[in-house]
C-alpha cells in the first residue's frame, strides 16, 4: 500500500434476533454514531462512505441510496460493495484502498444486515444457479454437513469436537455484551440439539441476526494526530472460488483451495512462518462448527487432521495459546453484511485492549481475521498494534 492505513474508530449495535424498534436506517445509524464517538469525530469530517450489504437479503435494491440518512452519506462520495458473506471485510479492504490511494484521509465503512426483514429461505435458494441446482435448493446446510462428514470420516474426529466449538463460541459470547446468542450451554446441550443434517445440529450453526458494524479508517498522519490507539491494517488478500466445484468440502483434497491460497499469499506478504506464533489472536468467519476446525488447518495453526486436537486441548480458548474468536464469532452473531467486518473490528478491539470481558489475557500485537461467503470465498486481513509489529 502506498500509504499506511489505520483503524481509528469503530462501533457496533447490540445484535439480536429481533430489532422491531428500529428501521434499517436507524439500526445502521446506531453503529455509525458509535464509530464516530469512538473516533471522536463528526460526520462532517468523513470524506467517503462505503456500504456493504446484501441487497437481496432484505429485498431492497440499492440499499445505499435509501439509507443515506442513516449512513451519513448524503452529499458525500461513496460506493456500495456486495460480495456475499465476505462483504464486510471487502468493505474494509475497499476503505483501505481509498485511504492508501492518497485521495481520501477519513473513510467510513459500514456493514449491516436486518435479517428479520427479509425472506432468508427464499434468498438463500436464489444462490444456486437457476438452471442447475435451484430446484434442489434449501440444501445449503447440506454443504456444511458434507464438510463435517468428510472431516469425521477422514480425520477420526467425533461429534463431540464440533460440540466443543459450539460451546466455546456461545460461552465466549456471554462475555461480549454485543453478541446475539449468549448461551450458557454444555457439550451435552450441543450434542442433544436438533439434528439438521448429519453431523450438523442446531447448535452447530450460526443464528440469523440483526445488526450493524461501522469502522473509520484513516491515513497515518490523521491516525497519529487524532487517535490514541490506532490499529494498523498490515495486509489484505482475497480469494474467490469457482462456481460449481466442491473440492473444498473434501478435507483431503490435493487441489489448492480458496482458504489456503489466500492465507499463503497473505503470509508471504508479511513473512509469516508460523501463524500460530506470529498472530496473537484470530477472528475467523465460521458459519458452522466444522468450518472452524477446518479453518485451524487451512490457516496453518496446526497440521492437516489436527484441528480437532486444538479444540480438544483448549488451545483456542480465550486464555489459550492460540485464541480464536474470543468475541463468540459468527456462531454467536450472524448479521451477514456485518459479520466479516465484525471480525476485523473485534480483532482491532483486542489489539487496543478494549474488548472488555472477552479481552484475551496477553499483550495482543497482531491479529488475523477471515471472512467467508459466496461459493467459498474469503477475504483475510492482518492487523497490528504498531507499524513495527
Amino acid at each position: 500500500m502506498k500509504r499506511n492505513v489505520a483503524i481509528i474508530g469503530g462501533g457496533q449495535t447490540c445484535h439480536a434476533a429481533r430489532r422491531h424498534d428500529v428501521d434499517q436506517a436507524e439500526m445502521v445509524n446506531e453503529a455509525v454514531r458509535a464509530a464516530l464517538k469512538d473516533a471522536r469525530m463528526t460526520m462532517d469530517e468523513i470524506d467517503l462512505v462505503i456500504l456493504g450489504n446484501m441487497e437481496f437479503f432484505e429485498g431492497v435494491h440499492l440499499t445505499d441510496c435509501w439509507l443515506v440518512h442513516g449512513t451519513g452519506a448524503y452529499g458525500k462520495q461513496g460506493v456500495k460493495i456486495t460480495t456475499g458473506g465476505t462483504v464486510g471485510a471487502t468493505a474494509v479492504c475497499a476503505g483501505a484502498h481509498h485511504v492508501a490511494s492518497g485521495l481520501f484521509d477519513k473513510v467510513l465503512c459500514i456493514g449491516f444486515e436486518k435479517q428479520e426483514e427479509g425472506d432468508t429461505g427464499a434468498i438463500l435458494s436464489g444462490v444456486a444457479n437457476p438452471l442447475w441446482g435451484r430446484s434442489m435448493a434449501g440444501a445449503a446446510v447440506g454443504y456444511f454437513a458434507m464438510m463435517g462428514s468428510s472431516y469425521i470420516a477422514n480425520w477420526g474426529a467425533t461429534e463431540e469436537h464440533s460440540a466443543m466449538v459450539a460451546v466455546k463460541a456461545r460461552q465466549n459470547a456471554r462475555k461480549n455484551k454485543y453478541a446475539h446468542l449468549k448461551l450458557d450451554i454444555t457439550i451435552e446441550d450441543a450434542l442433544n440439539s436438533r439434528m439438521l443434517a448429519w453431523p450438523i445440529r442446531m447448535l452447530d450453526m450460526c443464528p440469523a441476526s440483526n445488526g450493524a458494524c461501522a469502522m473509520i479508517l484513516a491515513d497515518e498522519k490523521t491516525a497519529k494526530s487524532r487517535c490514541k490507539k490506532p490499529v494498523w491494517i498490515r495486509a489484505m488478500d482475497t480469494a474467490h472460488n469457482e462456481q460449481f466445484e466442491l473440492d473444498w468440502r473434501d478435507v483431503k483434497t490435493k487441489r489448492l483451495i480458496f482458504s489456503r491460497a489466500c492465507a499463503g499469499r497473505l503470509y508471504r506478504k508479511l513473512g509469516v512462518d508460523d501463524p500460530a506464533k506470529y498472530f496473537d489472536v484470530f477472528e475467523i468467519y465460521e458459519p458452522a462448527t466444522w468450518a472452524e476446525l477446518i479453518w485451524y488447518e487451512d490457516l496453518g495453526l496446526c497440521g492437516p487432521g489436527e484441528g480437532f486436537r486444538l479444540i480438544e486441548q483448549g488451545k483456542t480458548n480465550i486464555d489459550g495459546p492460540i485464541p480464536v474468536n474470543p468475541s463468540g464469532g459468527v456462531l454467536s452473531t450472524n448479521c451477514i453484511g456485518a459479520s466479516a467486518m465484525l471480525r476485523v473490528w473485534e480483532a482491532a478491539l483486542q489489539i487496543r485492549g478494549d474488548a472488555g470481558e472477552h479481552q484475551v489475557p496477553r499483550d495482543v500485537r497482531r491479529a488475523l481475521t477471515t471472512a467467508y461467503g459466496g461459493t467459498n470465498w474469503t477475504v483475510m486481513t492482518a492487523l497490528s498494534k504498531t507499524l513495527d509489529d
Binding site: 462512505v49 446484501m54 441487497e55 437481496f56 445505499d64 441510496c65 443515506v68 482475497t238 474467490h240 459466496g374
Partner: protein, 381 residues
Amino acid sequence: MTERVAIVGVAQTRFAPKRPDVNYGEMAYEAISQVLKDTGLALPGDIDSAISCSHDIWDGQTISDIGITDVIGGHLRAEEKMAMDGSTAVFYGAVGILSGECSCTLIMAHTKMSQTNRNIVNNVAFDPIYTRMLGFDFTSAAALQARRYMYKYGITREDAARVVVKNLANAKRNPCASQSGDLTVADVLSSPAVAPPLHKLDIAPDTDGAVAMILASEERARKITDKPVWILGVGTCYDAHYLGDRDLADNFALERAAGRAYAMAGIKNPRRSVDLAEVGDEFSYQELLWLEGLGLCDRGEAGRFTASGATAIGGKLPVNASGGLLSGVPTNVAGLNRVAEAVLQLRGEAGERQVKGANIVVAQGHTGFCGQHQCVVVLGN
C-alpha cells in the same frame, strides 16, 4: 493525482434487445475475452484484481458474481462486486491502483434487462416503508423529475425530443448500438405516452449486453499499449432518497461529483476544456439536466444549447456521439459504456462517430432513480 492510472483496453458486446443464446456469464465472457485479446494480457497472471458491476435482482441470482467468478478470472483471486452503475467501477478501479495494492485491474459490467421486468425490479429500489407500496418505478419517478425540470426552467418536450433525434442519428454510426434511426421531433412527440411528459421514445429501451475494461498503473500501461487513456479526475456524490426530499429539478449530487472530478483533473472551466461528453441519457430530458449539472452549460440553458446544434457530432460540444443510452445500453453497464466510448474517442478508434480533436472527455453515470448517486470520470490522452 501524483500517480496516473490508465485505461489500456475496452471491449463491448453488441447491444441487443434480447440475447436468448447466452447466459450472463457467457455474455460477460464475450467482452472479457475480447479485451484480453486486444491488450494481449492473459488470465491468470497479468491481471491482479477484478471488479464487476451488476445487481442480484437484475441477474436473478443471490450473490450474482458467483456466475462470473469463472469468466472474470476470480478463481483463487480477488473479485469485488459493486452493486452500482458501471462508472463507479472505474472510480474504484482507479483507487485500487493508486493504493498500490493492484497494478492491473479487469472491470466488467453486464445486465440482461430482457430476462425480467424493469419496473418490478426498480420498484424494489424504493424505500419499503413510505414509497414502494405506491408502485413507483424509475420511469414514473423520472416523469416527476422531467415535469419539475420543465416547469422550473421552461424546458419543453421538443427540447427533450431533440436529444432523442440526435442520439438515434448518432447511433447509426455505432455498430454496437441496439437501435438507431432517422427520427423527427414530431416522431418523438407522437410516440405513445408512457408517463407524461415521457413518451416511449424518450425512454432508453431494454437491452442486453456487457462491457469490459482494463485499468493499469502508469508503469504497466506503458508496457501494454502505446495509446493509454488517462483517468484525470473522478468524483462521486450521494443525493437524498425520498422523491420529495429534493427539488427534482436540481443537480446537487452531480454538481458536487463533477466539481470533485474537475478539481482532481485541474479543470477550472469545463466549458473550455471538455471536448466531448458521454452522459447517462436514460431518459431524454436527463441528457439536458446532466449537461447543466456537469457545468457544461448554464442552468435551464441545455434545451437551447441542444437546439443550436452545439451537442451534435461536429458541434461545439458533442454529447453522446455514441448514441447514448437512448440507442440501447443496459442499465448498470451504462456508465461503464460512457467511459468506454470516451476511451474509443480519445484513442481515435470511434470509427464513423469519431469526434475530431477530442482530448478531454467527461463521462457521467448514475445509480438509482432520478440520479441519486452520481459518478463523473474525466479522461484525457
